[in-house]
């Protein structure tokens, strides 16, 4: 699978177009920002018209939406979820908590910078971001996909050791299957 932006193959173009217009979201809704997902999906803002719809399991999803803070306990589960997703996959960090810790900047049991543990493609800032901001985030992701620049998964694969090191620092008792795709 090539994500090379200079390859102007018509095939890649069609593929990226399809990916861009069909985004299945797995919302990891443990942060308080998750409350903004229902209005984004339902009648008022209707994300489905952009091809964005919910997926039930990581196997079916394209986008992992981390809605806000991640406690040190849930990080491992999120990583497991991310690794179960099938390529091509993207991560959206939702809310200031995923960017720099937000209002939990000095908390002892949340992680601060999500990008150290998972490759984030798009950040949506705000505490909490309104549905307009969420839609803007999806639009940004669509743009990145169309340009072939949303290659977080590639980055993860290449720098797996660095990510693993950071992840293991948070959860020392690491019993997880190998990442194999």
């Amino acid at each position: 699978m090539s994500y090379d932006k200079d390859s102007h193959k018509i095939f890649d173009f069609i593929q990226n177009w399809a990916r861009k217009h069909s985004i299945w979201v797995l919302a990891y809704g443990t942060g308080c920002g998750a409350i903004e997902i229902p209005p984004t999906m339902t009648s008022r803002y209707d994300a489905e018209r952009l091809g964005v719809r919910g997926a039930a399991t990581p196997r079916q999803a394209d986008v992992l939406l981390i809605t806000g803070y991640l406690t040190t306990k849930t990080l491992k589960r999120v990583i497991r979820v991310y690794e179960q997703m099938q390529d091509p996959k993207y991560v959206i960090g939702f809310g200031s908590c995923t960017i720099n810790g937000g209002m939990y900047y000095d908390s002892y049991n949340t992680i601060k910078v999500l990008d150290k543990y998972l490759p984030v493609d798009v950040y949506i800032n705000g505490c909490m971001p309104r549905p307009e901001a969420v839609l803007a985030g999806f639009a940004k992701l669509q743009q990145l996909i169309a340009e072939g620049k949303a290659n977080g998964a590639q980055k993860y694969k290449e720098n797996l050791e660095w990510y693993r090191e950071n992840q293991k620092r948070i959860s020392p008792h690491w019993v997880m299957p190998e990442y194999n795709w």
Partner: protein, 302 residues
Amino acid sequence: MELFLNILGAIATVILAFIVGMSYGGIVRKITARVQNRKGPPWYQNFIDAYKLYSKTTAIHHGWMHRMGPAFLMVSSVVTLMFVPVLNNGGWFENMNFQGDLIFLLYIMVFGSLGMALGAGQTGNPNSAIGVTRGLSQMVGFEIPWVMALVAMMIQYKTTSITGFIEVQQESGTWLMFSSPFAFIAAVLAMLGMFRYSPFDIVGAPSELASGPVSENGGKYLFTMMSSGSIFTFAKLTLYVDLFMGGANNLLVLLIKTFALYMVPVLYGLVSPRYRTEQAVRYFWGWPLFFGLLAIIYAVIF
């Protein structure tokens, strides 16, 4: 030459079923959205989704049965389609039919779900297992009125082939939904369960069961299931049209009739919340069963 043309016709039938089924799925999403006061995705959204699913890598392997599950579904859908006459005069869309093909169809239509059940069982996902048990209970529910309706019709018109029923309708000039109304009512009520829209979407409840039997399948598996589902939808609708609504002489009539019929489970589903498993089974063993019995009595007496 004859054989070659037949094979070509079969391929054309499958492609037609795929396109029509997928478009119906998209239109249903649009209608759902409009009912919920949303704008909704474009009608071709399902094609985009299918293409995207197909282009995803699929690195899931839970064993061979799991791999075969979607293939079983596909085989069952395509075989069902092959035995359902698409148009009355055959034409391009040749089909295989023989005396008794309706009985054969009754078996082959559940074959896919059973294969899928085995495949889902091998994934070891508890959600899949729960979904499978739910699906099989629901099937026990709606199969009974459905079989009763068909048996009633077989008794009444003394034929077991679908083309036979079409001929009966062409000779008498009325649709069977008018000349054997009880069987039609039982069959339509059974259809609600067959299409798994609300209130009978207990199998793949997304937030309750994480989509049930499908939960461990992504990418190409899901693509296979989606396309086989579309083909199966078209096959079932066409079967209903052939049996009860006089078949169709050309494609346009077929589309109008199948779409009208399809709206029954869809619109009923849009205004209904989801049943629990035992409620669903009890539903089917209530009025649909009663109408099935009535249909048999009607068929025996008249």
